[in-house]
């Protein structure tokens, strides 16, 4: 390859790299309505899963190590979802209130699961966490309904 040819290949590679970085940068943090919807739905799913774990604790029908590890994993997922929702800028600014509410729900779920992680052998705590996770799940469902225009 000649020197000019080599330069061209190098420039093209650099251009491609910059374009990829620009694309990645522009995509990073832009949250569409659909993605916001999916994020809130996943919170509802996490709350439902957490409820089942908490139910095992409440009934004294689980193993402490299992309840603790599951609560930790699900709590981390909720925390991650909260960070993702909080960091992203919205494609549709009019959904800012729903995003704010979703972050609050994610933090609530994370907090409840953290409590379950601390007291995986306490039936009373299990019962309360189960109940509160149910309420958090309902809040998430209400946000989904608002986003999809189904809310009253």
């Amino acid at each position: 390859m000649t020197g000019t040819g080599r330069k061209r290949v190098r420039s093209a590679t650099l251009l491609l790299l910059l374009a990829t970085l620009a694309l990645a940068w522009s995509g990073c943090g832009e949250l569409s309505n659909d993605e916001l919807n999916r994020g809130v739905e996943s919170l509802s799913a996490l709350a439902a899963q957490g409820q089942l774990v908490a139910n095992g604790v409440a009934r004294d029908a689980t193993k402490i190590t299992y309840a603790r590890a599951m609560a930790r994993t699900l709590g981390e997922q909720a925390e991650h979802e909260a960070e993702k929702l909080a960091d992203a800028s919205l494609e549709e600014p009019e959904t800012a209130d729903q995003r704010h509410a979703a972050v609050a729900v994610a933090e609530e779920i994370s907090g409840l699961l953290s409590e379950l992680q601390t007291f995986p052998g306490d039936e009373r705590h299990g019962e309360l966490v189960e109940q509160h996770l149910g309420e958090a799940g309902e809040k998430a469902d209400a946000i989904v309904a608002q986003l999809s225009g189904d809310a009253p």
Partner: protein, 406 residues
């Protein structure tokens, strides 16, 4: 009793192949998302793998040649090399995911750091392989995996709407890409190439000849039948418990929740124990398959029965693959994600594995009176057509659904 003991090879191949970490999560997700609608795809996969396992076991017993030997013989060096690279890539990814899976189950049982358990899992595998003969390894993981029958008991405890369950066995095609992605995933998970690589090489390890052909058929039908029953049960318990409340199971631990719900701590422990043996069996299957393929392709001495002295390169390659698996499992990537990608990528390698088996099993000049009959040939070619269609659809569906993420 003797007959039951004879199907150990089929059971470990099926338990490890059907119910590895990816299947446990894939089938549970299928139930959670589509309730009982994908049961037919599980059954389709079970019949497919039983057909091809029987063929590969028959070829091994009659000719003394395992699947990878046949691939190279029938497809030549170039295509053989392509099949070797593709299957080794998938096998190592699968092994990493299984090591991660063992670590996750141990973490759920003992609540200690994940990374410590990955190393512990690998050390345990080395110890088991060093101490037990091939038959002992089969029985240890195969029969241990039967603890998962607690899932079947959970189905009866839940007592679902049996009419709705029955309708799930009738094939239906939803137009959504996510549904199609799960059809491909559930089917491919049943036909992972390492299952026949392990099964046919295992037949040679056990010294099968024409006299073992009945045993081969029994292994294929009963062994994979058991794997299929457990996979169907997982879809049902998940569809019953998770679908109505919208749970999206993407953790291995979630798989055990229905058993906890039905039988409390005992159900949970049985489920986690069964999962440990299944995932451990899959780690053995995939690591052995990787070494079998490499050794058979390069013409090395191979086989657990030979021991490290007679088959040093085979043994060394097994240890290297294990180290690679540890490296990937310790990298922090979620083992469930690794295995989901490996299942779908394996679809692309399926035709390269199954076509040579089909051709050689039907070749009268090679197999004589033991060549495929009309039923085996019809089933074999029908399944091969399905495999080709799925291989073409797998990658577009993986991209279109963001690997099942919607």
């Amino acid at each position: 009793m003797r007959a039951i003991l004879k199907v150990a090879l089929g059971i470990i191949a099926a338990i490890g192949g059907f119910l590895d970490i990816g299947d446990l999560v894939f089938t549970t997700q299928a139930g959670a998302l589509f309730r009982y609608d994908l049961l037919w795809a599980v059954v389709l996969g079970v019949i497919g793998i039983a057909v091809y396992a029987e063929m590969s076991g028959r070829v091994a017993a009659v000719s003394g040649r395992p699947v990878f030997d046949v691939i190279r013989m029938r497809m030549g060096f170039g295509m053989g090399l392509l099949a070797l690279v593709a299957s080794t890539f998938v096998n190592v990814l699968t092994l990493a995911a299984e090591l991660g899976g063992i670590a996750i189950v141990l973490e759920l049982l003992f609540d200690a750091p994940y990374s410590m358990f990955v190393i512990a899992a690998a050390v345990a595998l080395v110890a088991i392989v060093a101490l037990l003969p091939f038959g002992g390894i089969e029985r240890f993981f195969g029969y241990g995996g039967l603890l998962l029958f607690v899932v079947v008991a959970t189905v009866f405890h839940q007592n679902p709407d049996w009419g709705e369950v029955g309708r799930g066995f009738i094939p239906s095609l939803d137009s959504s890409t996510l549904y199609l992605y799960f059809v491909v995933g559930v089917f491919a998970a049943a036909l992972m190439p390492y299952e026949v690589h392990f099964y046919s090489s295992g037949a040679i390890e056990e010294g099968w000849t024409e006299k073992n052909l009945k045993e081969n058929r029994l292994n294929a039908i009963v062994g994979y039948g058991i794997g299929g029953i457990l996979a169907v049960a997982l879809v049902i318990v998940s569809g019953y418990l998770f679908h109505p409340v919208g749970v999206e199971p993407d953790n291995l631990g979630t798989v055990a929740l229905p058993m906890q719900g039905a039988f409390g701590e005992t159900g949970l422990l049985l489920a986690l124990g069964g999962m440990l043996f299944c995932v451990g069996g899959a780690a053995i299957d995939s690591s052995f398959a990787a070494s079998y393929n490499l050794a058979q392709f390069l013409g090395w001495e191979w086989g657990r029965y030979q021991g490290p002295r007679k088959a040093p390169r085979f043994t060394a390659s097994w240890l290297v693959f294990l180290l690679l698996g540890i490296g990937i499992a310790e990298s922090g990537i979620n083992p469930v994600d690794i295995t989901e990608y490996s299942v779908v990528l394996a679809v692309v390698a399926l035709p390269l594995t199954y076509l040579p088996v089909l051709l050689i099993a039907g070749d009268r000049s090679f197999m004589d009176q033991y060549a495929n009959g009309r039923i085996a040939a019809t089933l074999g070619w029908t399944y091969f057509a399905v495999i080709v269609v799925l291989a073409l659809a797998a990658i577009p569906l993986l991209l279109a659904t963001n690997a099942g993420g919607g």
